[in-house]
């Protein structure tokens, strides 16, 4: 049942305020850090305070402003929104710690941290959007706020990456706008609170146009194959940006959008009848396999991770496209699993680049001797991606396989197996080189008085995220943990029909 509460708008507003303060008073390093941390903790507190309610099925709603009857900006913290907000606010905390360590002595840090806070505020805004208008509003603002971060280095190729990024995302934004407006025109309402607001008798051609526009619109950011071009190029951004944005915030917003379209705009029954999701599922499967194969060939560490992100995202799209409760659970839970695992990897790659200056797979032979803890975390994350039990990745693959069988699309299970092998194909060589290859030339030894391999601020988030990967893997059935929120979300999506596990 809906409870009117200000917290869904306070969460995005907190980091918006923090961005304002950072821009205003950013010159002094202390105040900048103080405000960023304060905002991170308050946001975490707000989201966690709403968690018990969500688990009990309470939905916090807040209508902010009404343009004309039926069209306005409103916030709604339903289970799925809460799940995504929880993931992104926890990761924002860790990434801030990491960014402070990583950006030491870099230039324009005021601009960096200001826009960084803005991006997260829009991500949480997307999570809590009650209707498509608010969703689109935060979706496009995210594009604008990430542009300065992508071109942060101000080098010619950074500008080129920024331009490509904007072209892709703005054209995508255009399609999303057209789709959203058509939904508003055709369905009369924009709300995302119902398990589906479009009706079958609107005629398949219109529905087809709406579905394609929305999927292209959100698919650009979800990195579905033909639209993924910007992601590898955007890796030129500093690592904290790649970590949080291109592994968590920006791409997940796209995947979140696709799932919202499937579950809340069209609804499971209508799509089952129309069958639009079948081609989408095939496209997702193709993306998984194709991007994994490309990842094999990438020597640059961050680009390899980028292609792995593209393939992992399509897991979520595939799960949603299968239209069965189990697959839906897998899709939602994978949002968290992939986030924590991928962010650990990016942190590790960033730490390696920061301490030893090595950026390529071929250059990191025997690094485990020099940076044991980081490489251990990297291995855990790699295991999670391959889907080894006890790690988060395993749960997704397990439920995804069950979902595929439930949707009697057995060949998807084959795709999962192939992709697991491919994941192993491009992650294990890294682990192998790190541990079992002798170092080509001796690694720069620890400066005296330094007990850990890299700066504490870099190491601490790596360890925490790796722990999370394991925690998520183990605590699937424990109530109160992310998995249970996913189940509450799936209940709301499949309120109409289908069995819930």
């Amino acid at each position: 049942m809906d409870v009117v509460d200000a917290r869904p708008i306070l969460a995005p507003f907190v980091s918006f305020l923090c961005a304002g303060l950072v821009f205003a008073v950013g010159r002094s390093i202390f105040w900048r850090r103080f405000f960023t941390f304060l905002a991170a903790f308050i946001k975490m507190g707000l989201v966690l305070s709403m968690l018990p309610g969500t688990l009990r099925g309470v939905v916090y709603v807040y209508d902010f402003v009404e343009f004309t009857p039926g069209i306005g900006i409103a916030f709604r913290a339903d289970a799925y929104g809460m799940f995504f907000a929880l993931v992104s606010s926890t990761l924002w905390l860790f990434t801030t710690i990491y960014a402070i360590g990583y950006m030491q002595g870099d230039r324009d840090r005021v601009r960096f941290f200001g826009f960084f806070a803005l991006c997260v505020s829009t991500t949480v805004g997307v999570a809590f959007a009650e209707n498509l208008l608010t969703f689109f509003l935060f979706y496009e603002t995210l594009t604008i706020c990430t542009y300065p971060l992508v071109v942060h280095a101000e080098t010619p190729e950074a500008l080129r990456a920024g331009r490509i990024y904007l072209t892709y995302t703005l054209i995508g934004g255009g399609f999303a706008l057209v789709g959203a407006v058509m939904v508003n025109a055709v369905a009369g309402t924009l709300t995302l609170s119902q398990p589906g607001i479009l009706s079958g008798d609107l005629g398949t051609p219109t529905l087809a146009i709406i579905f394609t526009c929305l999927t292209i619109g959100f698919g650009v950011k979800a990195g579905i194959m033909p639209l993924h071009g910007w992601l590898p190029i955007a890796m030129v951004a500093p690592t904290p940006v790649s970590a949080l944005l291109h592994a968590v915030a920006v791409v997940k917003v796209g995947a979140f959008g696709v799932t919202r379209v499937i579950y809340n705009v069209f609804g499971v029954e209508l799509l089952g009848v129309l069958g639009f999701t079948v081609p989408l599922a095939f496209l997702a499967a193709f993306t998984i396999v194709a991007s994994s194969t490309i990842a094999l060939t990438q020597d640059h560490l961050k680009r390899r991770l980028a292609y792995s992100t593209i393939s992992q995202l399509s897991y979520i799209v595939l799960g949603a496209a299968l239209l069965t409760p189990l697959a839906a659970t897998a899709a939602i839970i994978h949002v968290a699993n992939q986030a924590f695992a991928k962010i650990t990897m990016f942190f590790v790659v960033g730490a390696i680049a920061r301490t030893t200056g090595k950026k390529h797979v071929s250059e990191i032979d025997g690094i485990a001797a020099r940076m044991p803890i980081s490489m251990a975390a990297f291995t855990i994350a790699a295991l999670s991606f391959v889907g080894v039990p006890l790690t988060a990745g395993f749960i997704t693959k397990w439920y995804l396989a069950l979902g595929a069988l439930e949707a009697d699309a057995w060949w998807f299970v084959l795709v999962l197996i192939v992709s697991a092998l491919l994941n192993a194909g491009y992650f294990f060589p890294i682990v192998h080189r790190a541990y079992f290859r002798p170092a080509k030339e001796p690694w720069p030894t620890l400066e005296e008085g330094r007990r850990f391999e890299t700066a504490k601020t870099l190491l601490f988030p790596i360890v925490i995220c790796a722990a999370y990967v394991l925690l998520l893997g183990v605590t699937a059935e424990v109530p109160g943990m992310p998995f249970s929120i996913a189940q509450v979300a799936v209940e709301s999506f499949f309120a109409g029909g289908g069995v819930v596990p």
């Binding site: 343009f67 004309t68 509003l137 594009t143 101000e154 950074a158 706008l177 057209v178 407006v181 508003n184």
Partner: protein
């Protein structure tokens, strides 16, 4: 006999006029006093205007008979929801005038300031009168006041080139005013009255002959020229680019809207009389609107001079509004009418910010102004906010209207125009990305840019206020929308849906 604030209606028009006439007298001794005098007059006028809007909000549209003569015999001033545009118009003037105090230092010698501020006040008064009058011939007279002051304001800045651009503007503007006068005379010959409401009544029993059609066509063409729509937009880019920045902000933001408000007035009359079948005309409006969007954006991309590019983007945004009007569906017209205000606000931000940069560095082209953001952070930030909002990206004011016009397009079944609307505008963002890159992410080339310091406070404050308004209205866009809605719904039954 008139409700509370209605008494102030004629005085709101007359006040800027009398202020303008007195400016040379007041500032005879100290020319720089003219700026403060003009600002004072505009402040008082906007106070009156807010009283009028308050009256409109409480008791609905009201009218005022000048000279005490009953409705069709004297001149009637009618204040309805569309004329509520007077208040934001005056508030924009109140923000622009302080900007011009310091800006005029490099534009004209001091002794010509009183004449400049007189022209600015006359322009404001003329536009207020235009939005408020309920009499066709009075409409013509106010158009002349506005146009004549605009021709002069364009030529005030530069030397021969500005005069040539102003003269081109004058010739096309005069021809369009003549067409308006011809249409007024035609309607007078057909109905024997000049009062809009009365003409609507009498036109109904005159029936829809070719003469009525020609009268409407003459009005339509005249307003299309005034609002620089696609086929007749040639005069706008040079005129708005050469004019001093505060003048360009006034011209692009408000004077160009005269055509739109005129078209709405003419719609009201011809549809109350219900004598014309308007499907074909709406369709041409939609086509011209769409072409204006794409064409304006397309030309804007190739300009290197900031102000010339902003002038072309005005054509593109006018295309928005005309497309909205042509679609004739409730949401589209609401979006178009509110975009009249939003575009004025955004364009004022952009022109004033560009003006501040030109004032500080003397450079106008993008390639020269590389790396300006380091030295002029606040002005460049305002420029960035303006750039994002002119394309209509979400957090800003431009987005809400774009959503409504697109909604109207899809609701009235003209989907291709919805697509044209959304993607046509993205063209222009290519230029803005180039601009933002040049400002923020490239090293300065000229040393004048390297040591440029932030604009003086009297120029920076208006720019910052306008930029914050652009952002705030993106979220609180509801206020103007819900304000205009009753007027549009009252107008729409005549559009046959």
């Amino acid at each position: 006999m008139n409700a509370g604030w209605a008494e102030a209606l004629p005085w709101t028009i007359v006040l800027p006029m009398v202020g303008a006439v007195l400016t040379p007298a007041v500032a005879a001794r100290r020319p720089r006093l003219a700026g403060t005098w003009a600002w004072g007059v505009l402040l008082v006028a906007s106070a009156l205007a807010s009283g009028l809007v308050y009256q409109l909000a409480t008791t609905g549209p009201f009218s005022y008979d000048v000279g005490g003569w009953a409705q069709p015999y004297g001149i009637e001033l009618r204040f309805d929801h569309f004329s509520a545009w007077v208040l934001p118009l005056l508030l924009l003037f109140v923000v622009i005038v302080p900007f011009s105090w310091r800006y005029l230092d490099h534009v004209m010698p001091d002794e010509r300031r009183p004449a400049f501020y007189a022209l600015l006040l006359l322009n404001a008064g003329g536009m207020i009168g235009f939005c408020v009058t309920g009499d066709f011939f009075n409409l013509f007279v106010f158009t002349e006041v506005v146009s004549l002051s605009s021709y002069a304001l364009v030529a005030v800045g530069g030397r021969g080139l500005a005069a040539f651009a102003a003269l081109k503007y004058l010739f096309i503007g005069a021809v369009s005013s003549l067409l308006m006068l011809f249409a007024t005379a035609q309607l007078f010959a057909l109905t024997g009255s000049l009062n809009m409401a009365d003409v609507a009544g009498r036109l109904a029993d005159v029936g829809g002959g070719p003469a009525v059609m020609v009268a409407f066509a003459a009005y339509a063409v005249s307003f299309m020229v005034k609002t620089a729509m696609f086929p007749v937009h040639v005069w706008l880019p040079d005129a708005h680019a050469i004019a001093p920045s505060p003048v360009s902000a006034v011209l692009s933001g408000m004077v160009v809207k005269i055509g739109i408000i005129g078209m709405l007035r003419v719609y009201q009359v011809f549809f109350a009389a219900d004598v014309l079948e308007l499907g074909a005309f709406n369709q041409t409006l939609v086509w011209f609107g769409a072409i204006s969007i794409v064409m304006g954006a397309f030309f804007a991309i190739f300009q290197d001079d900031i102000k010339l590019m902003l002038a072309y983007s005005t054509i593109s945004n006018i295309g928005y509004i005309v497309l909205g009007l042509g679609l004739a569906s409730p949401y589209a017209v609401i979006g178009a009418s509110v975009h009249v205000f939003n575009h004025a606000l955004i364009k004022a931000t952009l022109f004033l910010a560009a003006g501040a940069i030109i004032h500080q560095t003397g450079l106008r082209t993008l390639s020269d102004l590389r790396g300006i953001a380091r030295r002029m952070p606040q002005t460049s930030a305002a420029m960035a906010v303006g750039a994002v909002s002119i394309v209509g990206l979400p957090p800003t004011a431009g987005f809400v209207c774009k959503w409504y016009i697109a909604l109207g397009a899809f609701e009235s079944g003209q989907a291709p125009f919805g697509f044209a609307l959304v993607f046509g505008a993205l063209f222009i963002f290519i230029y803005y990305v180039r601009m933002l890159n040049a400002f923020y992410f490239q090293e300065p080339v000229h040393d004048v840019v390297i040591e440029a310091n932030e604009a003086p406070w009297s120029m920076r404050a208006p720019v910052i206020v306008l930029a914050t308004l652009c952002l705030v209205l993106g979220v609180l866009g509801g206020i103007p929308l819900s304000f205009v809605e009753p007027a549009v719904l009252e107008l729409l039954p005549f559009w046959g849906n």
